[in-house]
Every structure is written in structure tokens, then in C-alpha cells.
């Protein structure tokens, strides 16, 4: 009995060790390149090849200053912040208005229009950037902030409408009726009841669209040629093309692009997991 018990305990421990070795190995593979990037960003061009310690002896923050000023990253960073804020705000307002109408209001052609948005989500459009570029040229929106913002709002619109509509469908009718009796207008109901009610869904929409805009590259490449208008991802590629061998400064730039998004993810990961799994499993 005792031997059997010991064997059981031993097998359980062996399995747990094996599982943790596997999980930890993958976790290190995930983190190490990012750690190595930050490490390089904190070294100078001279020490980066000489200092072989895991943590460099001498930390140098000069690369961040150089990237910020000489590399034009101050402008890129600010642009990314502006684009992300504008696009996300636009998507939340426009998609919640539409989703509210699809869920609660009536007008002819409602279902047709709604299924149009659903269909748009189902049909992948690779290479739609070609006609989009043609259109933007015609509208004189190339090299304008407005053009890029409008394009990116469109990218996130369909999915956001769908998520919010399913959420508004769950909103109790009694609440709405009570508000209507109190003389609340439709727009008032949207603002005072629907939006606060949908807060969890809006959080999901905000985070996914923010990730998407912050990380977007193709449209930023096609639409923005002027380096004063470029967001970070575009700026990084331009910088790499011009100073490809100055790795410490490049890594400082990459760190500046990566850290904010990792921070946002760490603070909002509850909503990311909820959004991802809700979409597929729930």
C-alpha cells in the first residue's frame, strides 16, 4: 500500500514537473525576444556586442532620447496616440448609435442593412487597399489625417456593431419604457441608458480597436507619405530603412511601440479574454 502510494505521488510529481517545464519553456520563448529588445535599447553601439551579461553593467537611456528627437519618434508617437484616440472614439459613437437602432428602433430596410454589415464581416477582402487608395486619391484624402482616420473607422465598424447589437438585445425593455414615459428622447435613451448598460461590451470594442489601429501598417504606408503624419509602425519601417544598422536606437523605437500596447493589454486583459472567447465559444 505504502509503495503504491509513493509511486502515485511520484508519478503525479513527475507529471507536474514535466508540465511546468513545458509551459515555462514556451513562456521564456515568448518573453526572451522582448527582453532582448529592451536590453539592446539600454546599451550603446559600443557595448552591445561586448557586454555579454544578461543584464548589462551600464544602463544607457540615451537611445530613447536619440530615437525621440533625431529619429522623429516624438512625432510618430503622438500621431499614433491621435489616430488611436480618434478612431476608437469614432467607432464607439457610430457603431453604438447604429447598433442601438438595429436592436431597438424600427425603420424600413432595417434587416437588409444589418445583414449587409454582417456579410461584410464574413467576406475577407484582401487587397481592398488597391481600390481604397484609388478612392482616397480621388477624394484628395491621401496624406491627410482625416483620410486615414475614416478608413480605420470603417475597418472596425462591422464587428463593433455586431457585438453591441447582441448586447443591446439583452437590455431589459422595462428600463427603456420607464425612461420613455419620463419623456426621454431616443437619443437620450441611447446616451443615458444604452451606453452605460453596454459598458463591458464597449470596453471590449475599445481595446480590440485600439490594438488594431496602433498596430496597423498597410494603410499607413499607402496613405501617409509625409513624415509629420506617420504613426509609429510606419515610422519604424522608415527609420529601419534609413538607419538599419543602428540597432540600439532601432530597438529603443521598437520598445516605445511595444511597451504601451503591452501595458494596455496587461491592464485590460480581462476584457481581451472575454472578447475573444465570447466571440467564439459563448
Amino acid at each position: 500500500m505504502n509503495g503504491k502510494m509513493n509511486r502515485y505521488v511520484f508519478r503525479k510529481m513527475a507529471r507536474s514537473t514535466l508540465t511546468h517545464t513545458f509551459l515555462m519553456g514556451v513562456a521564456i520563448t515568448c518573453l526572451f525576444p522582448i527582453f532582448w529588445m529592451v536590453r539592446c535599447a539600454l546599451m550603446t553601439n559600443q557595448t552591445v556586442f561586448v557586454d555579454e551579461g544578461l543584464i548589462p553593467h551600464h544602463l544607457d537611456f540615451g537611445n530613447f532620447a536619440r530615437a525621440w528627437t533625431e529619429g522623429n519618434f516624438a512625432v510618430f508617437f503622438l500621431n499614433s496616440v491621435v489616430y488611436t484616440t480618434c478612431v476608437v472614439t469614432g467607432i464607439v459613437i457610430i457603431s453604438s448609435l447604429a447598433a442601438f437602432a438595429f436592436s431597438r428602433l424600427d425603420f424600413p430596410g432595417k434587416n437588409v442593412i444589418f445583414y449587409m454589415f454582417v456579410a461584410a464581416m464574413m467576406i475577407p477582402l484582401p487587397g481592398s487597399f488597391v481600390p481604397l487608395f484609388v478612392l482616397m486619391t480621388k477624394l484628395h484624402l491621401v496624406n491627410t489625417r482625416l483620410g486615414y482616420i475614416l478608413c480605420m473607422i470603417n475597418v472596425g465598424l462591422s464587428l463593433s456593431i455586431l457585438i453591441l447589437k447582441t448586447f443591446f438585445d439583452k437590455m431589459p425593455h422595462e428600463l427603456e419604457d420607464a425612461a420613455r414615459i419620463d419623456g426621454c428622447s431616443k437619443i437620450g435613451i441611447w446616451w443615458h441608458m444604452a451606453l452605460p448598460f453596454a459598458r463591458p461590451a464597449i470596453a471590449v470594442i475599445v481595446i480590440f480597436n485600439a490594438l488594431n489601429v496602433w498596430n496597423e501598417y498597410i494603410l499607413a504606408f499607402l496613405l501617409l507619405d509625409n513624415s509629420n503624419l506617420m504613426p509609429l509602425q510606419r515610422g519604424l519601417m522608415v527609420f529601419q530603412g534609413a538607419n538599419g544598422t543602428n540597432y540600439p536606437v532601432l530597438m529603443a523605437g521598437l520598445t516605445m511601440a511595444a511597451i504601451p500596447i503591452i501595458m494596455v493589454y496587461l491592464f485590460m486583459q480581462k476584457y481581451i479574454v472575454k472578447g475573444l472567447s465570447g466571440e467564439v465559444v459563448g
Partner: protein, 304 residues
């Protein structure tokens, strides 16, 4: 209320309601419907982006059928997708299974595995481009990987991973999997957690071992979720582009170009807008067909 004024108030009400969806509809029509139409329309023309447009019917499509570079690029994307479907998804499933129980550090793992997916393709591509760098400076390899191979006694393995046609595409596919497995992991873990624990209990009482439980309970219950992951993997990986651009630029044409690269370079480098649109239409149709077939399969799996 008279019928007339009632009609007017219905109309007013409808207009008022419609105004809620108006901004969305306007943006959608301008930035989705019109480009959609324009893409199909332009594919029948020869056009350099400016100047006159020549209607040439199906010529672009005919040329496309015999364009080896184009079909090769689809094969390259297919290869990247295949690696993601097998290696990446198997890894994601194994990790999800390992985390679907009370283990220490579970939250830590869950957070860490999703960090690569939140990084942009540009950031991931440039980091790996640097890690894989084959050049030497001051007696050290610049790239972490080659330096590691060199200093740990395998100098014969030092390699220009991204410039050698034999290794370039596989290297890209592996980096793509590094960036992507976290998605599958999170979705599969959520799927595993919805499986009723009583099913496992029942299987155990029936005397089923770990492997039997896995094949008879876990896999059948997970089939719909796994199919969704497969569809998302295929659609995502077939359209991979920015990652490749960041890793090799347009360096190794014929070896690392994927459909979106071809569309991009037809438009950007050779100004063949019509041809680029024809490529986009064909590629879009391929993707729609694949996802439609898989959707049908997944509906069947859900019924069973």
C-alpha cells in the same frame, strides 16, 4: 389624428430612426461598398493609376492563370498556413490542455502566451530580423541566434536564415507561429473550460484512461471550437504580409512572396492597378470558398 398627419408622423419617426444608422451606412458605403465594386470593375481594365483606362475584358484574369509567380505565392502562403495549422495549433492545444486544471502560475502563463499576439507585425518582424542577423561586428555575430550557435560550439550551424531560399520561408513560418499561437491558446482554453466536468467524472467511473478520455470526451466536445480556430488560422495566415515585409522587405522574390505581396507590388512597383485588382478578386474568392466549406463542416460538427 387624421390619416395624413399620421402618415407624416410615421415618416418622421422612420427618418429619425434611420438617422441613427446613417453615419455607419455612409462610411460603410464609401469605404467598403465602393472599393468592393471598384475592385471588380478595375480588374477588367488596364490602368497605370493615372491617365487613360483601357477596357480589356478578361485579359488580366487570363494572364493571371499562367502567372507562375502568382501561383507560387499562393503556395508559399499555403506553406506558412500549413505550419500554423499543424505546429502552431498543436502547440496551442497542448498548452491549453496543460492549463485547463488547477496548476500554479496559471494566470502568469495565460498572460504571457498572449503577449506576442498583441505586438504589431512590424515590431515582431523587426525584432526577429535582428535576432536572425547573419553579419559579424567586432568579432561577434550581431544576431542573437547565430551568436548563440557560434559560442555554444555549433559554428557550422551559423546561417543566413532569411537570405537562403531553402530556409527563408520556414523561418518566416516559425516566426509567424510564434506570434500567432497565443490566439489559439486563449480560444481553446475558453473552450475547454466550458466542458462539463461531470463528463470527465463519468468517463473515469466507466474506467476510461487518460487517452480514452481525451479522444472520447475532450476532442468531440472541442470539435466546433477547434474548427473555428482552423478557419481563423487559415484566413489570418493566408493574408500574412506585413510580417514578411518587416522581416525580409521584398528581398527574396520568388521564395518568400505571398499573394498580398504580389498585389502590393503589382500596384506599388509596376503600377498595374487592373492586374492588382484581378489578383485581389481571385484571392478573395479563394478565401471565401475555403471559409465557406469549413463553415459548413463546423455547422455539421455542431449538430453531431
Amino acid at each position: 389624428m387624421s390619416p395624413k398627419s399620421r402618415g407624416a408622423s410615421v415618416l418622421k419617426n422612420n427618418l429619425q430612426n434611420f438617422s441613427f444608422v446613417l453615419p455607419a451606412v455612409v462610411i460603410f458605403c464609401i469605404f467598403y461598398i465602393y472599393p468592393f465594386y471598384k475592385m471588380i470593375n478595375l480588374s477588367f481594365y488596364q490602368w497605370r493609376g493615372i491617365g487613360p483606362m483601357h477596357f480589356i475584358g478578361l485579359e488580366n484574369y487570363k494572364e493571371l492563370m499562367t502567372d507562375h509567380l502568382w501561383w507560387n505565392s499562393i503556395a508559399h502562403a499555403g506553406y506558412i498556413t500549413l505550419i500554423a495549422l499543424t505546429f502552431q495549433n498543436a502547440l496551442a492545444f497542448a498548452l491549453a490542455l496543460a492549463c485547463d486544471r488547477e496548476i500554479r502560475l496559471k494566470r502568469f502563463y495565460r498572460v504571457v502566451f498572449f503577449i506576442p499576439p498583441v505586438l504589431s507585425e512590424v515590431v515582431v518582424g523587426l525584432i526577429w530580423n535582428w535576432i536572425l542577423n547573419p553579419e559579424m561586428q567586432n568579432g561577434h555575430y550581431i544576431g542573437l541566434l547565430n551568436n548563440f550557435l557560434y559560442t555554444s560550439g555549433f559554428p557550422q550551424l551559423v546561417h543566413d536564415w532569411l537570405a537562403d531560399p531553402k530556409t527563408a520561408l520556414t523561418t518566416i513560418a516559425i516566426v509567424n507561429s510564434w506570434k500567432g499561437f497565443g490566439w489559439g491558446f486563449i480560444i481553446m482554453l475558453a473552450g475547454l473550460q466550458t466542458i462539463d466536468k461531470q463528463l470527465y467524472e463519468a468517463a473515469r467511473i466507466d474506467g476510461a484512461g487518460a487517452w480514452k478520455t481525451f479522444t472520447h470526451v475532450t476532442v468531440p466536445m472541442m470539435l466546433p471550437v477547434l474548427l473555428v480556430v482552423v478557419i481563423l488560422t487559415i484566413l489570418g495566415c493566408m493574408q500574412v504580409f506585413v510580417l514578411i515585409l518587416a522581416m525580409v522587405n521584398e528581398g527574396l522574390v520568388n521564395y518568400t512572396d505571398v499573394p498580398v505581396t504580389r498585389i502590393f507590388s503589382a500596384m506599388q512597383n509596376t503600377n498595374q492597378f487592373g492586374y492588382a485588382c484581378a489578383e485581389a478578386v481571385i484571392f478573395g474568392m479563394i478565401l471565401v470558398c475555403v471559409s465557406f466549406i469549413l463553415k459548413k463542416l463546423s455547422d455539421k460538427a455542431k449538430q453531431a
